[in-house]
Amino acid sequence: MNTVKEFALQQTKAQQKSNLAQRHLIENIAFGVLWAAGAVAVLVLIAVVAYVLSEGAQVIDWEFLTTRPKGGLSGEGGMSTTIVATFYLVVLTIIIAAPLGIGAGIYLVEYAGEMQGSSGLQATVVSIIRFGVETLAGVPSIIFGLFGYALFVTTMGFGFSMISAALAGACLVLPVIIRTTEEALLTVPRSYREGSLALGTTQWQTIWKVVLPAALPGVITGIILSVGRIISETAVFYVTLGGSYHMPPSPIFHPKEFLSSGGRTMALHLYYLANDTAAFDKAMGTGAVLVISIVLINLAINYFTNRIDKKLRGL
């Protein structure tokens, strides 16, 4: 009896041993495959960025950054006006989109959403809105462009202009801002809200004094993300901003002229250069400036994401 038992025990031990070798083998294969996938993905990205930067570096100098494009088929001149136009358009679009998007996000989470314990009809409406926002975030940007063209450029008569482009751009980034605002608010612990309300504060005081400050880094991340979206967008602005490479009028001294002036962002400039001119090197130079801008923006996002962590841990 005893020997039978021992024998059985030895058998299982032997089985386990052979099985262990097999499991190690599978582990190594899985690790190898995943490592290769990761390496290829990173290498491709690095190759793209390195190519654009090295090609661009040949034309980027102070003069390229500070002279205007000369226009025409040769693509001569620099890119100064496009940097300025991009900056103006980004600021104008964010001024329009941020209050709307942040406000909508606050409403959805704090007043209509799970934090308020709503139910029934309101909950259904909120989930429909949320579905709509998520769908809009996935719509191709040219759709927003066509919408902007139909509504702002033609129907409302704004023409190809900063204001048309900013309004259409705001439509494009609104879903981004709403969603990041919602996510930032949802990371704020419920106990903060309860703690504040239990002291006899109104809901708005709770939101303004406790919830928003705690969520601010996340909200700012959403804004910065939108800035990146606007900088790299071409389709929307192609059909709403026109392509004028002239310097836009000053928004402070000539606000009216500024709003109705057309313009050309860096991404649009890149598109025109690559499509209509032979100045491929300058297209690369513009592309390099764009890539550097986006990298800087992502660094900024990292910074703010770290801040929100630290803030919530009390550092």
Binding site: G117, S196, G200, P213
Partner: protein
């Protein structure tokens, strides 16, 4: 019963949707005393506590029946913001805001519109002293409230509640997330606070109820999961001479 009742509950029922969580609760909370609410998990004692400052308003589908009066005013007719100013709350997990100690304590008075810096400083000191944490934090009121230890955070939250000068302080298992020494300090604090405040404390810990409270309410639930009030009496009575068999079983540790 000595003294007068500050909160009077009459025929109170509470529902989550169609589920009856509390049935026919009748209890008078005596003023300037510590009242402990004990009972097994899921008997609705925390839910009942959160009724007094209407924190249950934040939960969907909660419906209440019956009356709860504070100084002859029905709390369900009162402005909820004013009600919560008068009935403070300390939560199970310390929940200081991600702000400085000073900003945590003065948060309530500021929300009520007080701007005078000198007055705010006075309130901060008085409240922090009242919560027995002043000596530990007085040198660095600008430190984040989150940088304190768990026990200190909880006392900061008590100070924050004291700063708006409530009449009643509700405590929802205030020491359950703390170590024994921090727990002891909170218990000492509770005993000293009853000079000025009425305290209602929910606790899982029967020794704690026996140590800190003057009155004890025993809540109970059976298979129906509907919570009922079995017995409410002087703490001494409850622990030495319970009238109900279920109370006796619970306090002698036969279940729960």
């Amino acid at each position: 019963m000595t003294g007068s009742a500050i909160l009077k509950t009459n025929g109170f029922n509470l529902y989550y949707g169609s589920f009856k969580a509390l049935e026919d609760i009748n209890i008078d909370i005596p003023e300037n005393q510590v009242t402990a609410i004990i009972g097994p998990s899921g008997c609705g004692k925390s839910t009942f506590l959160r009724t007094f400052n209407r924190m249950n308003d934040l939960i969907p589908n909660v419906k209440v029946e019956g009356k709860i009066k504070m100084a002859d005013q029905d709390i369900f007719d009162m402005d909820v913001v004013e009600l919560r100013r008068r009935i403070g709350m300390v939560f199970q997990r310390p929940n200081p805001f991600p702000k400085s100690i000073f900003d945590n304590v003065t948060y309530g008075p500021r929300a009520n519109g007080l701007r005078d810096r000198a007055k705010l400083e006075e309130i901060a000191e008085r409240s922090l002293r009242g919560a027995a944490i002043w000596d530990e934090v007085k040198d660095d009121l600008n430190k984040s409230g989150l940088a304190l230890s768990g026990g200190q955070q909880q006392r900061l939250c008590i100070a924050r509640a004291l700063a708006v000068e409530p009449e009643v302080i509700l405590m929802d298992e205030p020491a359950s997330a703390l170590d024994p020494i921090a727990t002891l300090r909170i218990e000492e604090l509770i005993r000293s606070l009853k000079e000025q405040y009425t305290i209602v404390i929910v606790t899982h810990n029967m020794q704690q109820a026996a140590r800190v409270s003057d009155y004890t309410a025993f809540f109970y639930t059976d298979e129906s999961r509907t919570g009922i009030l079995v017995e409410f009496a002087l703490t001494k009575e409850i622990f030495t001479n319970p009238k109900d068999k279920r109370t006796e079983d619970y306090i002698t540790g036969r279940f729960g």
